[in-house]
C-alpha cells in the first residue's frame, strides 16, 4: 500500500464531522460528562481509545468519598478540612468546598443508576475508613469511603456506561484523538482524531470540547497505571499552547505489588491491614502516631522508603515491606477484599489470608494537569488574569487540575473528583450552549497541518530511534530523578537528561506502516504525549525549591522555620509550565472557600 500518510495525500482526505460537543475519553469523568450532554439533547461525540469499560477508572478499588455518615458521624466540613490538609494547602479551597459539598449528590445518583454498592445492615451504602480521612478535624478515622467490595471503580465505570447506553450517547470507540484544534484567537474548535481500525484521520469540529483523558503514570518505570494511560490530553493541550499546572506533584501509592506494580487498595488498611518491616514491626506507629497506617499516602510512602533505605526492608534485597492482613477474619477478606486476594495470588504468589503481601511505593496518580476552575472550564493566563477561561474548552478528572488535590491527593477523592467535575463540566457546556455562548467557529484551512506533519514525519522516518527504547529511557529517567524523595542535584541532572530523551523522541521510527490497527504508530503518537508530561514534571519539580505534599527534596528539610520543609512565603503558589519554551509561570492558590458557610482552613504543619 505504501505510505499511508503524506502531507500531499492526507490533506485532501481528512473528513470533517460536526458536533455540538466532543468529549475525549470515556472513563469515569468522560462518561459522567457525556450523561449531562446526552440527557440535555446535545449532539455529542465521545471518543475513546478503548471500549469505555476498559478505561482505567475500572481499576479503582477502595471507594469514593462522601460524607453520607452511614456508619459513623460525618460532615462535609470535616471532609473539606481533610482534603485541604491532605493537599498540603496547595488545593484551591473554593474548588474543594464545591467538591465535598457535591459528594453526597453524585454518589446517590450513581446508586440510582444501579451501581452495586455494598450495604450496611440497614440497607444503606457501605462505607469504610480510608487514609487521611478523619472525623472532627483529624481526631480519629472516619468511615467515608463508599465501596463496592474492592471493585468500586469497576462497578462505577460499568454503571456509568450502562446509564449512557440508556441515554443513547454516541460513542466513537477505538478512536485516538491526536491534537487539539484552536484558531488564531485561541478558541478551541475540536480535535483531529485517528480511527485505529481503518487508519482514517478525521476532524471533529465542535462548539465545545471536553477533555477527560485520564492520567499519565506510565511516564514512570514502576506504575500502577494501565498501558493506555499516556497523558494524551495533557500532550494535546501542551502542544496547543495551554500550560500544565502543578506537574511536579505525583502520588506514589504506598502499596503496589513489589516487582509487578499492580495496585493493592488502601482499603486493605481501611479494613485493618498493617504495614510491617523486616523485624515485623508496625512501623507507621512511629511516623504517624494518630492515624498510623491510615495516614496520608505521601506520608506512608515516605515512611516505607525510609524503612527500606535504613536497612529494614524485607526480602533478600531488603527492597520492600509487608502488608499484613493475616490477622483479619478470612470471611471478611473474602467479602470485602476478594479482588485483592485474587491480585495477591496472581501477581505476588501469596494468599493474603495466610501470608503478608510484599509491597513498595509505586507511581499512581498525577495531582497536576490541565488548569481548570470548579466549573470544569479550562483556564489559562490572558491579559493579566491567570485564570481566564479558554473559549470552548473544558476538562475533568485526572487530566484536569481544578485544583482539589493540591500537592497530595487523598484516597477515594479521585473517584469523587471525576464524578463532581465530570458532571460540572457537562453542566457548564449545557449552560453555555443554552445561553448561546458556544458558536461553531470557522476552521482555519491549515488547522490539521501540524498533526498531518507529525503523521507524515513518522511515516517517512528512517534510521530513527525505536519507540520502546525511547520510552524506557524516559521511564528510567523519571524514576531515578523524580521519585518518592527528590534531590537537588538529581533534579538538575534530570532536566538535562529528560530534554535529551525528548530530543531523541523527535526521530522515533516504526517499521509497521500498515493502515489497519497500527499499534506501533499509536504507541509512537502516545510517546509524544508522554514526553510533554515528563518534561513538565521534571522542569516544574526542579524549580520548586521547597518540600510540599508529594514533592519532598533534600535541600528543603523539616526545620522550625519551615515545618516539613514547606515554604509558604515563597512557594504557596501553583506552577504553570508552557511547552513552547519550557518556561514557568506561577499563580496564586485560592485560599478562600466558595461560600461563607465555612472559614478558610488556616495554614498549619501537617502531622497525622
Amino acid at each position: 500500500m505504501g505510505c499511508a500518510y503524506s502531507l500531499e495525500t492526507v490533506s485532501v482526505n481528512v473528513a470533517k464531522r460536526i458536533f455540538d460537543a466532543v468529549i475525549v475519553g470515556a472513563g469515569g469523568a468522560g462518561l459522567r460528562a457525556a450523561l449531562q450532554l446526552s440527557e440535555a439533547g446535545l449532539k455529542t461525540a465521545v471518543l475513546s481509545k478503548v471500549f469505555p469499560t476498559r478505561s482505567h477508572t475500572v481499576a479503582a478499588q477502595g471507594g469514593v468519598a462522601a460524607s453520607l455518615g452511614n456508619s459513623t458521624e460525618d460532615h462535609w466540613h470535616w471532609h473539606m478540612y481533610d482534603t485541604v490538609k491532605g493537599s498540603d494547602w496547595l488545593g484551591d479551597q473554593d474548588a474543594i468546598e464545591f467538591m465535598v459539598r457535591k459528594a453526597n449528590e453524585v454518589v446517590i445518583e450513581l446508586e440510582h443508576y444501579g451501581m452495586p454498592f455494598d450495604r450496611t445492615d440497614n440497607g444503606k451504602i457501605y462505607q469504610r475508613p480510608f487514609g487521611g480521612h478523619s472525623m472532627n478535624y483529624g481526631k480519629a478515622p472516619v468511615m467515608r469511603s463508599c465501596a463496592a467490595a474492592d471493585r468500586t471503580g469497576h462497578a462505577m465505570l460499568h454503571a456509568l456506561y450502562q446509564r449512557n447506553v440508556r441515554a443513547h450517547t454516541q460513542f466513537f470507540v477505538e478512536w485516538m484523538a491526536l491534537d487539539l484544534l484552536r484558531d488564531a484567537d485561541g478558541n478551541v474548535l475540536g480535535v483531529v482524531a485517528l480511527e485505529l481500525e481503518t487508519g482514517e484521520v478525521s476532524i471533529f469540529h465542535a462548539r465545545a470540547t471536553i477533555f477527560a483523558t485520564g492520567g499519565s503514570g506510565r511516564i514512570f518505570y514502576s506504575s500502577t497505571n494501565a498501558f493506555t494511560n499516556t497523558g494524551d490530553g495533557l500532550g494535546m493541550a501542551a502542544r496547543a499552547g495551554i500550560p500544565l499546572e502543578d506537574m511536579e506533584f505525583w502520588q506514589f501509592h504506598p502499596t503496589g505489588v513489589a516487582g509487578a506494580g499492580v495496585l493493592i487498595t488502601e482499603g486493605v488498611r481501611g479494613e485493618g491491614g498493617m504495614l510491617r518491616n523486616a523485624s515485623g514491626e508496625r512501623f507507621m506507629e512511629r511516623y504517624a502516631p494518630n492515624l498510623k497506617d491510615l495516614a496520608s499516602r505521601d506520608v506512608v510512602s515516605r515512611s516505607m522508603v525510609t524503612e527500606i533505605n535504613e536497612g529494614r526492608g524485607c526480602g533478600p534485597d531488603k527492597d520492600h515491606v509487608m502488608l499484613d492482613i493475616t490477622h483479619l477474619d478470612p470471611a471478611k477478606i473474602m467479602k470485602r477484599l476478594p479482588g485483592i486476594r485474587e491480585i495477591s495470588i496472581q501477581f505476588a504468589g501469596v494468599d493474603p489470608i495466610r501470608a503478608p503481601i510484599p509491597v513498595v511505593p509505586t507511581c499512581h496518580y498525577q495531582m497536576g494537569g490541565i488548569p481548570t476552575n470548579y466549573k470544569g472550564q479550562v483556564v489559562a493566563p490572558r491579559d493579566g488574569n491567570p485564570n481566564s477561561p479558554v473559549p470552548g474548552f473544558y476538562a475533568a478528572g485526572e487530566c484536569a487540575c481544578a485544583s482539589v488535590h493540591g500537592a497530595n491527593r487523598l484516597g477515594t477523592n479521585s473517584l469523587l473528583d471525576l464524578l463532581v467535575f465530570g458532571k460540572s463540566a457537562g453542566e457548564s457546556v449545557v449552560a453555555d450552549f443554552k445561553a448561546g455562548n458556544l458558536s461553531l467557529r470557522p476552521l482555519p484551512t491549515d488547522v490539521a497541518e501540524r498533526t498531518l506533519a507529525r503523521l507524515a514525519r513518522l511515516e517517512s522516518q528512517k534510521d530513527g530511534n525505536a519507540v520502546p527504547e525511547v520510552r524506557l529511557a524516559m521511564q528510567r529517567t523519571m524514576q531515578k530523578h523524580a521519585g518518592v524523595f527528590r534531590f537537588k542535584d538529581l533534579l538538575k541532572e534530570g532536566v538535562t537528561r529528560i530534554l535529551e530523551v525528548a530530543e531523541s523522541a523527535r526521530t522515533t521510527c516504526i517499521q509497521d506502516k500498515s493502515r489497519v490497527w497500527n499499534t506501533a504508530r499509536q504507541e509512537a503518537l502516545e510517546l509524544d504525549n508522554q514526553i510533554e508530561v515528563a518534561k513538565a514534571t521534571m522542569i516544574s519539580a526542579e524549580a520548586r525549591k521547597e518540600s510540599r505534599g508529594a514533592h519532598v527534596r533534600d535541600d528543603a528539610p523539616d526545620t522550625p522555620e519551615h515545618p516539613n520543609g514547606r515554604d509558604d512565603q515563597n512557594w504557596l503558589k501553583h506552577t504553570l509550565w508552557f511547552s513552547a519554551d519550557n518556561h514557568l509561570e506561577y499563580k496564586p492558590v485560592s485560599l478562600k472557600p466558595m461560600s461563607h458557610d465555612v472559614e478558610p482552613i488556616a495554614l498549619a504543619k501537617r502531622t497525622y
Binding site: 500500500m1 478503548v50 471500549f51 469499560t53 476498559r54 478505561s55 482505567h56 475500572v58 481499576a59 446517590i108 446508586e111 440510582h112 443508576y113 444501579g114 452495586p116 454498592f117 455494598d118 450495604r119 450496611t120 445492615d121 440497614n122 440497607g123 444503606k124 451504602i125 463496592a148 471493585r151 469497576h154 462497578a155 460499568h158 454503571a159 450502562q162 446509564r163 447506553v165 440508556r166 481500525e197 494501565a226 498501558f227 493506555t228 516487582g259 509487578a260 499492580v262 495496585l263 479482588g339 485474587e342 491480585i343 496472581q346 501477581f347 525505536a466 519507540v467 520502546p468 516504526i510 517499521q511 509497521d512 500498515s514 493502515r515 489497519v516 490497527w517 499499534t519 506501533a520 504507541e523
Partner: protein, 236 residues
C-alpha cells in the same frame, strides 16, 4: 524463574498486506521479571512492532487482552507464561471476524450485550437518598456484576459461534440476570419477554465452556439456568 527463551506460534494477518492469514513461528528471550503471557507479548512487540493485540490494565479487570491461548480462551495478563506448553499457540478469539492479528471485531458481542438493556430500570421518582437494599439482597449480585466483557465466554460457546446474531450468548445472559436479580430493578417481566425466544436464551445447551474459560471465575451457565427457571415459573 530466570532468563529463558519461549517459543510461539502466532496467528498473523494484516489485511493491508497479507493475502491470507498465516502462523508465525517466533521466539523471545524473557527476563526473570516476565511472568505473564502479556509480558511476553510486549517483548515480542519490541522485536516486531507489527504484532498487533489489545491490552490495557494488565491486571485482569479491563478485559482488553482476551485471546485464544493453546486452544483455550483467556486473558494474556492473567496467564502464567511458564504454565504453557510450547510452542505457545496464540490465535484471536474464535467466532468473531479478525481485524488484524490477535484483534477481533467485537461488534456482534456488544450488540448482544446492548440487546439485553444493560441498565437499571426503575421508573419510580428517585428518592432523596439511596434506595435501600439489604446485604442479603446485594449478595445476589455477586458473581454477576464482576463481568469484564472480555468475551472469553461467548467466543468459547458453540451456540454463539453458530448464531452470533440470534443467541445472546453467555456474557449477555449473565448480564441480563444481573439486572433481573437486582431488587431495585422493576423490569423483570419485560426482561424475560425480551429473552423468550427459541434462539436468544434457549440456544444454551449447557455445554459449560463459558464457565471453564471465565477469567473472573463467574458462572454464566448458572445465571442462564436461573433465567430459565423464572420462565418456567411464570408459565405455570
Amino acid at each position: 524463574m530466570s532468563k529463558r527463551t519461549v517459543r510461539f506460534k502466532i496467528y498473523r494477518y494484516d489485511p493491508d498486506k497479507d493475502a491470507a492469514p498465516y502462523m508465525q513461528d517466533i521466539s523471545v528471550e524473557l527476563d526473570a521479571t516476565d511472568k505473564k503471557l502479556l509480558d511476553a507479548l510486549v517483548r515480542l512487540k519490541a522485536k516486531d512492532d507489527s504484532l498487533s493485540f489489545r491490552r490495557s490494565c494488565r491486571e485482569g479487570v479491563c478485559g482488553s487482552d482476551a485471546i485464544n491461548i493453546n486452544n483455550k480462551n483467556g486473558l494474556a495478563c492473567l496467564t502464567d507464561i511458564d504454565s504453557l506448553k510450547q510452542p505457545v499457540v496464540l490465535r484471536p478469539l474464535p467466532g468473531l471476524p479478525v481485524i488484524r492479528d490477535l484483534i477481533v471485531d467485537m461488534t456482534q458481542f456488544f450488540k448482544q450485550y446492548h440487546s439485553i438493556k444493560p441498565y437499571l430500570i426503575n421508573d419510580d421518582p428517585p428518592p432523596e437518598r439511596e434506595r435501600l437494599q439489604s446485604p442479603e439482597e446485594r449478595e445476589e449480585l455477586n458473581g454477576l456484576y464482576e463481568c469484564i466483557l472480555c468475551a472469553c465466554c461467548s467466543t468459547a460457546c458453540p451456540s454463539f459461534w453458530w448464531n452470533p446474531d440470534k443467541f445472546v450468548g453467555p456474557s449477555g445472559l449473565l448480564n441480563a440476570y444481573r439486572f433481573i436479580a437486582d431488587t431495585r430493578d422493576q423490569a423483570t417481566s419485560e426482561r424475560l419477554d425480551n429473552l423468550e425466544d427459541p434462539y436468544r436464551l434457549f440456544r444454551c445447551h449447557t455445554i459449560m465452556s463459558c464457565v471453564d474459560v471465565c477469567p473472573k471465575s463467574l458462572n454464566p451457565t448458572r445465571a442462564i439456568g436461573k433465567i430459565k427457571d423464572l420462565m418456567v415459573r411464570r408459565a405455570i
